[in-house]
């Protein structure tokens, strides 16, 4: 519907929403401060209320209410999308997600579906402080009936760009509720076009039934066999890619980076194949360390590969509040330098 080529993740997500609303008038976006000219706190919704005035509903500050309402709408055939302004506020919607949206299909014995997509930006590094910087999706991983998705900043084959395509397809084709995890700094990341990634070989494992949730594997072309597998998603995947590049050129340590776009349910076959070759796995996430995404990924890899997993590590945020002061904030969150340090230790 547009000749516009998305340049950033933000562009791509915005195009994905436009496309979904254009394709299906039953797609309705609910959230706070969505109307133009503001277009949402991070501008992902920009232009939508002008182009599709009947499909955008700006709401009071009622995260639980709008999520529950979206559940009721979905049970009656609509395809609602909810924008939660900051990922930190997903605690307010937990009951609606866990006890309502994710339950309907199972508890009504398959006789009802609630395909709601809940989009929200997680993450720090903007100086927003303790209640506006967290990465909380780990609390929603492993909720039966809930899909958790996170886009990666590739351009891909689709004119929407990979993030917009993932979002658009989740909205139009998903048959269960999904938490779509964005990241505040990821919005501004450039989408890597194939030519810019010429140094890399990118293989894509196509996962999912109703729609594709690609699982990417990236390594440097013509590099020796990878010595370690890195696993990361979302914004951390970009930091891991930066680390992979530096490690190759500065340390001659060669890594392979595995990037899922579906975090839950956990479907990790491409990762197991990669780790079976390297024997080493480092998981990288911006959430806090204990009981996080990496813990589950490592546990499953160990269960699957047994002694084939020789060395394992997790990199995550320090367990404390995320400070506003830039130096303190940077110390609390894992960065590229931390990834490089951990990889050197492990190889």
């Amino acid at each position: 519907m547009s000749d516009h080529v998305p340049r950033t993740v933000l562009d791509s997500l915005n195009l994905g929403l436009h496309q979904a609303m254009h394709d299906d008038p039953d797609v309705v976006l609910l959230g706070e401060d969505l109307l133009d000219p503001y277009g949402g706190a991070f501008k992902v919704a920009r232009g939508l209320s002008s182009a599709f005035p009947k499909q955008v509903l700006t709401t009071p500050i009622s995260e639980a209410g709008i999520t529950g309402i979206a559940g009721g709408m979905a049970l009656r055939g609509l395809r609602p999308v909810v924008e939660i302004m900051f990922g930190d506020f997903t605690t307010l919607i937990a009951d609606q997600v866990i006890n309502h949206l994710a339950k309907f299909n199972g508890m009504y014995h398959g006789q009802a579906q609630a395909p709601v997509v809940i989009r929200t930006p997680m993450g720090g590094r903007r100086g927003y402080g303790p209640t506006h910087s967290q990465t909380l999706e780990k609390y929603f991983l492993g909720v039966p009936g809930l899909t958790v998705l996170a886009p990666f900043n590739l351009l891909g084959e689709d004119p929407l760009g990979a993030p917009g395509q993932l979002l658009c397809e989740a909205i139009l084709r998903g048959d269960s509720p999904a938490l779509f995890v964005e990241h505040k700094l990821q919005y501004l990341l450039k989408l890597h076009a194939t030519q810019e990634l010429a140094e890399y070989s990118v293989s894509v494992h196509h996962m999912g039934v109703q729609f594709d949730r690609p699982f990417y594997a990236l390594r440097l072309k013509s590099a020796p066999a990878a010595q370690i597998t890195l696993a990361a998603y979302g914004y951390m995947a970009q930091l891991a890619l930066d680390a992979l590049h530096q490690l190759a050129y500065e340390d001659e340590i060669f890594c392979e980076l595995l990037v899922p776009t579906q975090l839950a349910p956990f479907e990790l076959a491409p990762l197991f194949e990669a780790v079976a070759r390297t024997g080493r796995l480092l998981t990288i996430e911006e959430g806090t360390f204990s009981l996080g995404w990496g813990a589950e990924v490592l546990a499953r890899t160990a269960e699957t590969l047994g002694s084939g997993l020789r060395t394992a590590g997790r990199l995550a945020a320090r367990e404390g509040v995320i400070p506003v002061a830039p130096n303190l904030e940077a110390e609390s969150l894992p960065g590229t330098a931390d990834i490089i340090r951990r990889v050197r230790e492990m190889v």
């Binding site: 559940g71 009656r76 055939g77 309502h100 199972g106 508890m107």
Partner: protein
């Protein structure tokens, strides 16, 4: 069958379903627990008699009466409570998680109001003329999401009738220890027109509910009905802390079955009772004979 006899039949079908359920719980054929609507049958019948085919009903943990008054099959409900594949939801949902046609119930109080509001928003967009009826209780008022939803129901003028069954007790906690201020003013504060009635008489509830449902249907805006009622049974299987004297007083004054039976000739009453007895016993026996369940 005349109107009064028909209403008595509706009330009695719920009553016999639940008294049989409670009697049979002791035999171990029903897993888990259940909440009965003994004493509140007139709300279910008085409100849901006015349903149109496409209307949507949302209920809560105390939903058997609403389900049966909606037209739900007692055999499928018994089977559901027995945990059988032939149940309403294959035995997965049990007593408080039912879905059949446009009927939905769920077990977390405040969330049902959000479900209902979302459904009313869907109906408003669809423009089919259907409305949503949402049953809540005085206990539901303790959860914050209710107020978020009342605000949006009013802001967006959603076609919904909120029926608050004020039985003045939440599990074991009397409303005097849980509900401050006025219930009516809670709705009024959001600009939702509200009618209050203190009655267990189906003939009083019926016309009032009918007026409100007509208003929601024709004006496409929300209404609330607060019915002060009496829960004559325990919260679930046997957790009533009220005194036998208090319960005796409520049974004497507030039993909707007694009130409605008084309007029938003895012959008519007996005929209805025999008819309901056969239907409920038949539904129970058929559910019990079906495959699956506890034994």
């Amino acid at each position: 069958m005349d109107h009064n006899a028909q209403l008595y039949r509706g009330l009695l079908a719920i009553r016999r379903f639940e008294t049989l359920l409670m009697a049979q719980f002791k035999t171990g054929i029903f897993p888990g627990t259940t909440h009965t609507s003994l004493g509140q049958e007139a709300n279910a019948v008085g409100v849901l008699t006015h349903l149109a085919e496409d209307d949507v009903v949302v209920s809560n943990h105390r939903c058997h009466g609403h389900f049966l008054a909606y037209g739900g099959n007692p055999q499928a409900l018994f089977a559901e409570l027995m945990g059988k594949p032939s149940g309403v939801c294959g035995g997965v949902g049990g007593s408080q998680h039912l879905h059949w046609r446009n009927f939905y119930s769920s077990g977390v109080q405040g969330g049902t109001v959000a479900m209902a509001a979302g459904m009313a928003l869907a109906e408003k967009r669809a423009g089919r003329g259907a409305i949503v009826i949402d049953f809540m209780g005085d206990g539901t008022l303790g959860e914050g999401i209710v107020y978020e939803c009342l605000n949006m129901i009013s802001l967006w003028q959603l076609p919904i009738l909120l029926v608050l069954e004020n039985n003045q007790i939440a599990q074991t906690t009397p409303a005097s220890l849980a509900v401050a201020g006025s219930i009516q003013q809670r709705f009024a504060a959001f600009g939702i027109q509200t009618v209050e009635l203190d009655s267990s008489d189906v003939l009083e509830i019926l016309p009032l509910a009918g007026d409100l449902i007509r208003q929601v249907r024709s004006q496409r805006e929300p209404r609330a009905l607060i019915v002060t009622t009496a829960r004559l049974g325990s919260h679930s299987k046997g957790d009533d802390t009220r005194s036998p004297r208090e319960l005796e007083r409520l049974w004497q004054a507030r039993d909707p079955l007694t009130i409605q039976a008084g309007r029938l000739s003895e012959d008519t009453r007996k005929a209805v009772e025999a008819d309901v007895e056969a239907a409920i016993q038949g539904a129970f026996a058929a559910a019990l004979a079906a495959e699956g369940g506890m034994r």
